[in-house]
C-alpha cells in the first residue's frame, strides 16, 4: 500500500467539516476555531502553522480526541467522533493516535521503558510482548541504551524521543505533535524532525504543529491558521537532502 497511489480512491484518514470550538470562560466566549474544513489523506506529512492563539492547539486536541468540537463534524478513520462513547474515544487515543506534547509529559517517577509501556496498561487487547515491543520502539527512536533512565536523567531531546516511542507503542496510524520542538534547541529540533520524517516514510500519517518555518519545511503539506480559520493549504517540496536521508533510513529500517 502506498499512500500517494491510492489517494484518490481511499477515504481520508481525517475529515474535518466546519469545525468550530468555543471556550466559554464565564465572562466571555472565546471562539478558538471558526469553521475549519480540510481532509488528511493516509500517509500524509502535514505541518500546521499560525500565530499564537490562532487555534492550532485547539485543533490538535480535537484531532487527538482529547476534546470535542462545539460544532462541525470530525471523522477519524471513518468513525465520527461526535457519536463515540467515552470508552471508544479512549480506545481511539490508545490505539490509533499517538500524541506528542511540547512538554513531553513523561511520568517522572517512571523509567523510559516504563513510560513507553504506559499505554499498554490501557490496551483493550492483551499484550504479552510489551517489554520487547517497548525496547524495539526505544531503539527505533535511538534510545536503546537508556531504557532504565528516568526523565530527570535524560536531556530534553532524549525525553521527547521517549515520548515519541510511547506514542508509537501501539503502532498508531496517526502521529499528532503539538510543538514537539518548542522546548528544544535548533540542533535537537532537527533531529526530532528527522525522526518524524522517518516515521512518515514508513507510512504513518504525521501532523506537526510548529511556529518555525524550518520545522514546517519537513512536511509535504502546510496548513496555515489565523484567528481560528484555515487561511492557506498548500503542498510544498520537501528539502531534497532530508528526503533522501529519510528514504535511506526507512529502507534500512523496514523489516
Amino acid at each position: 500500500m502506498t499512500a500517494s497511489g491510492a489517494g484518490s480512491i481511499e477515504r481520508p484518514i481525517i475529515e474535518c467539516v466546519g469545525l468550530t470550538k468555543i471556550y466559554d470562560i464565564g465572562v466571555e466566549k472565546v471562539q478558538a476555531l471558526r469553521g475549519v474544513t480540510f481532509n488528511v489523506r493516509r500517509g500524509e506529512f502535514i505541518a500546521i502553522m499560525g500565530a499564537s492563539g490562532s487555534g492550532k492547539s485547539t485543533l490538535a486536541n480535537l484531532l487527538g480526541a482529547l476534546d470535542k468540537p462545539t460544532s462541525g463534524d470530525l471523522t477519524i478513520d471513518g468513525a465520527a467522533i461526535a457519536r463515540m462513547s467515552g470508552d471508544e474515544l479512549a480506545r481511539l487515543r490508545n490505539r490509533d493516535i499517538g500524541f506528542v506534547f511540547q512538554q513531553f509529559n513523561l511520568l517522572r517517577r517512571m523509567t523510559a521503558l516504563e513510560n513507553v509501556l504506559l499505554p499498554l496498561n490501557y490496551s483493550q487487547s492483551k499484550v504479552s510482548d510489551g517489554a520487547t515491543r517497548a525496547k524495539a520502539k526505544l531503539e527505533e527512536v535511538g534510545l536503546g541504551a537508556r531504557l532504565g533512565h528516568t526523565p530527570a536523567q535524560l536531556s530534553g531531546g532524549q525525553q521527547q524521543r521517549v515520548a515519541i516511542a510511547r506514542a508509537l507503542i501501539n503502532n498508531p496510524n496517526i502521529i499528532l505533535a503539538d510543538e514537539p520542538t518548542g522546548a528544544l534547541d535548533t540542533h535537537t529540533s532537527h533531529e526530532i524532525m528527522r525522526l518524524f520524517s522517518t516515521l512518515h516514510a514508513k507510512g504513518l500519517t504525521v501532523i506537526v504543529i510548529t511556529h518555525e518555518p524550518d520545522i514546517a519545511g519537513y512536511a509535504e503539506r502546510l496548513l496555515q491558521f489565523r484567528d481560528g480559520k484555515l487561511i492557506s493549504d498548500c503542498r510544498q517540496d520537501i528539502q531534497q537532502d532530508n528526503r533522501q536521508d529519510n528514504l535511506a533510513l526507512a529502507a534500512g529500517g523496514e523489516p
Binding site: 487527538g64 479512549a90 509529559n105
Partner: protein, 406 residues
C-alpha cells in the same frame, strides 16, 4: 488495566509519599488494632468465664449462715445442721443433689514435705453437685462416708506440693497426726475469681467430724455450708426463696426478722464480671469504630490531595487511552492498598495488644481467623468507602482540562 498493574502503580505512588501515607494510615491502624484487641479480649474473657462457670458448677446453690456481726443485729445463735440438709432434700423437689460441708485447716505431711491447705469434709454427692472429675484415682464414695474412712482426695496443687511428680494414689499422708490414704487427685481447675481452686483436699464429712480439728469450734451436727445442685432449667430465684422460707420455718424466724442464712449462686460474680466486660467491649468497640471513621476521613482527604496533585498525570493517562474506569480503579486500588497495609499493621499492633491484655487479665490469648478476617474486611471497607469519592473525582476529569492543569 489489570489488577496487578493497578497494585504496582498504587504501591509506587504510596511509597513515593511514604511518610504522608504512613501518617494518614494511623487512624486505620489504631481502628483495626482496636478491633483485634476487642475481639481477642471478648474471646478470651468468654472462654475464661466459661471455664469458671464449669469449675464452679452450673446450677449450683450454696447455703451459708449470715455473719451476724456483719449485719449489726443481735439474736440467738442459729446453727445450720444435718437436719436442715435432710429437710431441704426432702421438701424442695428442684434440689437434685445435696452435700453437707464442714471446713478446716490442717497441716498435711507426706515424707519430708508438708502443706497446709483447707480441707473440705463432704458427702460423696459433692461430686455430683460440682461435677468433680479426678485426674488420678477416684473421688470419695458413700462407703467412705458411712464408715468414716481415713481417705483423702487431693487438689492438684496439694498433690504437687506434697508429691512433686510422684504418684500420690495409695500413699499415706498424716493429717494432724491421723494417717490418711490418698485415693485420688481432683482434675485441675486453675484460678477462678483470683483464687486457686486446686489448693483443697476432700475428706469424708464423718472423718472430718470425728478425727480432724475444725476451723472454729462447732456443734456435733453443725455444718459450715450446704451445697446443692438445682434441676437444670428450674427457676433459681424461686428455689432460693423456697429454701429460705423452709429455713425460716425450721428456725422459727418471724416475718420481717433478719434471715439467718444466705443462699447464693457461686456463678453470680462471674456474671457480674461478664457485665463489666460487656460495658468495656462497648467502649472499646466505639473507640475502634470512631478511629476507623476518622482514619477513613483522613484517607479520603489525602486521596483528594493526591488526585489534585496528579491531575496532569491523570490527563496524560487519559490521553494515552485510559478509560474512566481505569482511573477509578487506579485511585480506588491506591486507597484500598493503603488501608489494607494499615490493616495489616493494625493487626500486628492489635495482636501485641491482645497478647499483653491476655497476659495481664489471665485469660487465654485468642486471635481467631474470624477477627483477622473482620479486621481486614473493615480496612478494605474503609478503603472502598472513603476512596470512592476521590477516585470518582479523578475519573470524571475531562482529559484536556486535566492535561492543562498545572
Amino acid at each position: 488495566m489489570t489488577l496487578g498493574a493497578c497494585l504496582r502503580e498504587a504501591i509506587t505512588a504510596l511509597r513515593l509519599n511514604a511518610l504522608r501515607s504512613g501518617l494518614t494510615a494511623i487512624g486505620v491502624i489504631i481502628g483495626v488494632a482496636g478491633i483485634i484487641v476487642l475481639s481477642a479480649a471478648g474471646g478470651g474473657a468468654n472462654r475464661k468465664i466459661e471455664q469458671q462457670i464449669n469449675a464452679l458448677g452450673s446450677d449450683t446453690l450454696i447455703i451459708a449462715p449470715v455473719k451476724m456481726e456483719n449485719t449489726g443485729q443481735r439474736g440467738p445463735v442459729v446453727l445450720l445442721t444435718d437436719d436442715d440438709a435432710k429437710a431441704i432434700a426432702e421438701r424442695v423437689p428442684e434440689i437434685v443433689h445435696i452435700t453437707r460441708e464442714v471446713d478446716g485447716n490442717v497441716t498435711i505431711v507426706a515424707g519430708n514435705a508438708s502443706w497446709t491447705p483447707e480441707y473440705w469434709g463432704v458427702d460423696a454427692s459433692y461430686a455430683d453437685v460440682f461435677n468433680v472429675k479426678t485426674s488420678e484415682g477416684r473421688f470419695l464414695d458413700e462407703r467412705d462416708v458411712r464408715s468414716a474412712a481415713k481417705v483423702i482426695v487431693l487438689g492438684a496443687t496439694v498433690a504437687e506440693k506434697l508429691f512433686g511428680g510422684a504418684q500420690p494414689v495409695d500413699q499415706i499422708v498424716r493429717m494432724g497426726g491421723v494417717p490418711m490414704r490418698v485415693i485420688g487427685v481432683r482434675s485441675t481447675l486453675g484460678f477462678v475469681g483470683g483464687q486457686n481452686q486446686d489448693n483443697h483436699v476432700f475428706v469424708p464429712i464423718t472423718t472430718a467430724r470425728s478425727r480432724l480439728p475444725q476451723k472454729e469450734k462447732i456443734a456435733p451436727r453443725q455444718l459450715n455450708l450446704i451445697d446443692m445442685k438445682v434441676l437444670a432449667g428450674a427457676d433459681r430465684a424461686a428455689v432460693k426463696e423456697a429454701i429460705l422460707a423452709l429455713l425460716r420455718e425450721r428456725k422459727h424466724i418471724r416475718d420481717g426478722e433478719q434471715d439467718r442464712f444466705d443462699v447464693f449462686d457461686p456463678t453470680q460474680f462471674v456474671e457480674l464480671m461478664n457485665a463489666t466486660h460487656g460495658t468495656l467491649s462497648l467502649l472499646l468497640g466505639a473507640t475502634a469504630a470512631i478511629s476507623l471513621l476518622v482514619g477513613g476521613v483522613g484517607i479520603m482527604n489525602i486521596m483528594l490531595v493526591s488526585v489534585t496533585e496528579r491531575t496532569s498525570e491523570i490527563g496524560l493517562r487519559m490521553a494515552v487511552g485510559a478509560r474512566k474506569r481505569d482511573i477509578l480503579a487506579q485511585f480506588l486500588t491506591e486507597a484500598v492498598a493503603l488501608c489494607l497495609a494499615a490493616g495489616i499493621a493494625g493487626l500486628a499492633l492489635g495482636a501485641a495488644g491482645a497478647y499483653a491484655t491476655a497476659a495481664a487479665a489471665g485469660w487465654p490469648f485468642i486471635v481467631g481467623p474470624q477477627s483477622v478476617a473482620l479486621a481486614l474486611a473493615a480496612s478494605v471497607g474503609v478503603g472502598v468507602a472513603f476512596g470512592y469519592v476521590p477516585a470518582r473525582r479523578a475519573a470524571s476529569l475531562n482529559p484536556i482540562d486535566a492535561l492543562r492543569h498545572e
